[in-house]
């Protein structure tokens, strides 16, 4: 039987990324001088082009490759976040790695492949496609985590991430095989139809589902599967940490949403408590453990764990409003994290990079604009209005209250007071403490990124919040329309 060529249009962005990744690899190998910067810029450009393709060919729901691959408004929304944040962090990273003399042309290429994997994850409509995407992404991430080959911290981070990541992948596969065995398919649509009947599900499916949740919780570093996060964040080169904290996190959460809602949406009663528990634990650990950190990268690791906890409230709600709230939250989270890392990537004093929180002391005297931007980011992360972070939390809590999960919202509220403490501590160090060593001026790239993100965080309520609201609403609708 000769099969027809599947409809390639929905997967055009992914195809572009794959081809461009390989082409850039060839370019890198055969380029006479070191072409890392060129490849870095090209890689970012490719991701932006891919983002344009996502918008142009996305929109209405299309399924292709025999049901393995799907694009819909949800995929468009998530891919846009992933591609844009990858491109921005890539540009910041190349600059930084050049400065530190550890740039190699493979770095941008790995990021491009990681982006490919993430897009494939987001568009997965079948557990096989999901696994392929997830592993493409993960393999690239293991490598970039260990990119600073001659430092122990970086190699340790890479190895730790690899070992634990492989374990999580194994757990995922085990869960998937259980689901396949008890429900008879790996396709999301087929699974959804079989659960929609409302018959009691076999315990095997539920066990499989729990394994899948564990693996996905690992990928988005939710407690109790977060152990790798602080070590990897601290050990990996800073631009890699910046990258880790945005694009893969967004992709993992988007995947989490799709898997929970699309095939297992009708089993809400089975998985809701699990997600609630994970969410509460993440908020607690993210809040309390961050208080004692002195390294800003570690602090950001715990902060991201906390943020995942808030986002998971929206998933625990399990309805359209909840998903839409998560998507809004992720967009805002992205903005704040990119801005914060633009600062962390520019923490350079006396010719070397520093990453202690104490090194920021008195920044407001030496670099007032940079200090103001950090303050804005931290207030926003703490969820103080009128900054963007508040609106993320607002819609999450709103979804929870509307769905009757008031206690969950109250826990979220109380942990965000705890979290506010350590965000304020950074502001305190920046504004109230006596100056430490003066930082060197920020590189132009970083300055531009920080400027754009902090202005966006401040005026978010005017623009683009209304637009984001509409887009996230459509994306969530697409997920439930299936």
């Amino acid at each position: 039987m000769v099969s027809e060529i599947p409809n390639l249009y929905p997967a055009l962005p992914e195809i572009l990324l794959a081809l461009a990744g390989m082409a850039l690899l060839m370019l890198g190998v055969f380029h006479k001088t070191d072409g890392s910067r060129l490849i870095g810029n090209l890689g970012a450009a490719v991701m932006i082009v891919a983002a344009v393709l996502v918008v142009v060919f996305g929109g209405a729901r299309q399924v292709t490759f025999n049901g393995l691959f799907v694009t819909d408004s949800f995929a468009v929304y998530a891919k846009l976040m992933v591609l844009i944040s990858s491109a921005v962090t890539l540009l910041l990273a190349v600059k930084w790695l050049e400065q530190e003399n550890i740039i190699r042309f493979e770095f941008p290429i790995l990021i491009v492949f990681a982006a490919l994997g993430m897009c494939a994850m987001i568009s997965a409509n079948d557990f096989l496609a999901l696994y392929l995407g997830l592993e493409t992404q993960s393999l690239a991430l293991y490598l970039v985590a260990a990119f600073q080959r001659d430092t122990v911290r970086s190699t340790e981070a890479g190895l730790k991430y690899f070992v634990l990541g492989a374990l999580a992948s194994g757990v995922l596969l085990y869960g998937v095989s259980l689901v396949y065995g008890f429900a008879g398919s790996t396709n999301f649509d087929v699974l959804a139809r079989s659960f929609a009947a409302g018959e009691p599900v076999s315990p095997g499916v539920v066990v499989g589902l729990v394994f899948i949740i564990c693996a996905l919780a690992f990928k988005c570093s939710a407690v109790p599967f977060h152990m790798w996060t602080p070590d990897v964040y601290e050990g990996a080169p800073t631009p890699v940490t910046a990258f880790f904290s945005v694009a893969p996190k967004v992709a993992a959460l988007a995947l989490f949403l799709r898997v929970m809602i699309s095939p297992f949406g009708d089993l809400l009663a089975q998985w809701q408590q699990v997600i609630i528990a994970i969410s509460i634990l993440s908020m607690l650990v993210g809040g309390f453990a961050a208080i004692v950190q002195t390294n800003i990268k570690r602090l950001m690791a715990y902060s991201s764990i906390g943020h995942v906890g808030y986002a998971l409230i929206g998933l625990a709600v399990g309805n359209q409003a909840g998903v839409s709230a998560v998507l809004i939250y992720l967009a805002i989270y992205l903005l704040m994290n990119i801005g914060t890392f633009a600062v962390i990537l520019s923490m350079r004093a006396n010719g070397r990079m520093v990453e202690g929180i104490g090194d920021l002391a008195g920044l407001s005297k030496n670099r007032p604009i940079m200090a103001a931007a950090i303050a804005v980011m931290m207030f926003s992360m703490a969820g103080v209005p009128p900054f963007a972070g508040f609106f993320g939390k607002f819609f999450i809590f709103k979804a929870a209250v509307d769905a009757g999960l008031v206690p969950l919202a109250v826990v979220g509220v109380l942990t965000s007071v705890v979290a506010a403490f350590y965000y304020l501590r950074i502001i305190k160090v920046v504004y109230f403490d006596d100056p430490a060593d003066q930082f060197e001026p920020m590189p132009t790239h970083a300055r531009f990124v920080l400027g754009v993100t902090s202005v966006a965080v401040v005026i978010f309520f005017l623009f683009p919040l209304p637009q984001v609201l509409v887009a996230a609403g459509n994306a969530a609708k697409a997920l439930f329309g299936a």
């Binding site: 303050a375 103080v384 209005p385 709103k398 109250v410 509220v413 007071v417 403490f421 504004y431 919040l465």
Partner: protein, 506 residues
């Protein structure tokens, strides 16, 4: 004039000032001088604009006036909705009135980072005014919380030795309370389908829900007022904050909590408000008596005034929850009066602090010999704080006691005891600072008030006497709204009672 977005202009004009301040370039002295000038100019212009409210406000209606509405968040029903009624309009004026005075207060005492200081004040003014004008609960919340940001910076950067502790305590206490209010907001939004305040005012919430909502709102407003026993952030914040920040803190920020009670708790949750009245009375009476006693033994001037603020705000909460026209008008009047008087007292402390750099009461003494002008001004505000007839403090306290007397004689009697303590600690403070022998060398060298300081106090003196001698304009502007509030409250109570009676019959 009538079709101008007056409230938006008043709210956001200070931000225009911020934009100008940000554009100032040059060496430090020029930047500092220009920042001060721009801040003073903007805040004065804002005050002048807000006078249009005073003259344009029609006193015969309880409706919201100067209303503006614009779409904001699509699909959520949350809109940009501004307006004032007789209850809020005076607080808008209070905020715009105090800000230029605060700018003057920091004129020479703030020497480092003047630019940032003035920016923080301008942002603070926007947040305060916006909060009193907001007619959407979400908008209100944003301004209510937004106040924390500039205040945190003001206390933390320009504060005293324990400023960091004080700033954190202030921020976290208030944030914890506010976030619980956020949950209540979300629940009310969910129940009523809107965050529009005029609509929420007429929405009947279920009695059990009312109880929880009341507690959540109470957590936020009680911290802000502050009520005993969650008042402990206030003395710390006041002592460490720079003078002008203390003025705003006492003058406006404390009013935000009480305003919250009048705007949200009482009209939206009438049943719960009635049920919780004994608890509010209890806490307030404790506040009045206990904090007055604590104030008696303070060694630090600012701490003493801070505790007196807690006591005076106890009067306000009692007044509100008497749910009588006299009580509520008295509470609102007392809020205004306390805003002016406590602000002025902090300025008085600031004047001598700027000269001797200590707030310890025992370091002073005999100031009347060297600083007669200062002694006079201080005496006036001290008397106003005590509630001497002829000053603004008297009117509010009298009305509140009248209201309380109708509801509960014991509460009225205990409050009156608090008044006596109030007189005791204020007179004691005055005696120790102003009278006595002029012995200390450095105190002998102190100069009387400068022209700038006189200018700063003049409007406050006028206002205190005006409000004390001829309070009618102020009471007039609020009376219709207060009557309307009580009427709606009674109707809601009657409806709820009828519903329960019906259930009982069936």
């Amino acid at each position: 004039m009538s079709n101008w977005p007056l409230l938006s202009i008043i709210t956001f004009l200070p931000l225009v000032g911020v934009a100008f301040i940000l554009m100032i370039r040059g060496d430090a002295a020029i930047v500092a001088r220009n920042s001060r000038n721009v801040a003073l100019l903007t805040s004065s212009a804002t005050f002048v604009m807000s006078l249009f409210l005073w003259f344009g406000f029609s006193r015969g209606t309880a409706d919201f006036q100067f209303v503006e509405q614009a779409d904001w968040l699509p699909g959520t029903g949350i809109s940009y909705h501004m307006g004032v009624d007789g209850i809020s309009v005076l607080f808008v004026l209070l905020s715009t009135f105090l800000t230029p005075i605060c700018v003057l207060a920091g004129w020479s005492s703030i020497t480092n980072r003047v630019k940032e200081y003035m920016i923080a004040f301008m942002v603070l003014e926007t947040m305060m005014v916006g909060m009193f004008c907001a007619l959407d609960f979400m908008l209100f919340y944003i301004f209510f919380e937004g106040v924390l940001v500039p205040m945190f910076i003001l206390i933390g950067v320009w504060g005293g030795p324990r400023r960091i502790y004080a700033a954190f305590k202030f921020f976290l206490y208030t944030l914890a309370g506010s976030l619980l209010m956020l949950v209540a907001l979300l629940y009310m939004y969910f129940q009523a389908g809107t965050t529009d305040i005029p609509t929420l005012l007429h929405h009947a919430f279920a009695p059990t829900a009312q109880m929880w909502l009341f507690l959540a709102l109470f957590a936020s407003f009680a911290v802000k007022v502050p009520m005993w026993p969650v008042h402990t952030w206030l003395p710390d914040a006041h002592v460490e904050a720079p003078t002008a920040a203390s003025v705003i803190l006492a003058g406006v920020l404390l009013k935000m909590g009480a305003y919250g009670f009048v705007r949200f708790s009482v009209p939206m949750l009438p049943q719960a408000s009635a049920d919780f009245t004994p608890i509010v009375f209890g806490l307030s009476v404790v506040a009045v008596i206990y904090t007055s006693l604590v104030a008696l033994v303070q060694e630090d001037m600012k701490k003493l005034i801070a505790y007196s603020s807690v006591a005076h705000m106890g009067f306000v909460t009692i007044g509100i929850f008497t749910l009588t026209p006299q009580g509520i008008s008295g509470a609102l009047f007392q809020m205004l009066s306390h805003g002016v008087v406590a602000g002025a007292l902090f300025l008085c402390v600031g004047v001598i602090y700027d000269r001797l750099h200590t707030r310890e009461i025992s370091r002073y003494g005999g100031l009347v010999h060297r600083m007669p002008k200062y002694a006079t001004v201080f005496m006036l505000f001290m008397m106003a704080s005590v509630g001497l007839p002829g000053t603004s403090g008297f009117v509010g306290e009298l009305l509140v006691i009248l209201g309380a007397f109708q509801v509960n004689t014991w509460v009225a009697a205990l409050m009156a005891t608090g008044l006596i303590f109030g007189a005791a600690y204020m007179l004691f403070l005055y005696r120790r600072i102003i009278f006595g022998k002029l012995e200390k060398e450095d105190v002998k060298a102190m100069q009387d008030m400068t022209g700038r300081e006189v200018l700063m106090f003049a409007p406050l003196v006028v206002l205190v006497l005006w409000m004390g001698l001829y309070p009618m304009p102020f009471l007039d502007i609020m009376s219709v709204s207060v009557d309307n509030l009580i009427a709606n409250f009674e109707t809601a109570r009657a409806a709820a009672d009828a519903a329960t009676a019906l259930v009982a019959l069936n």
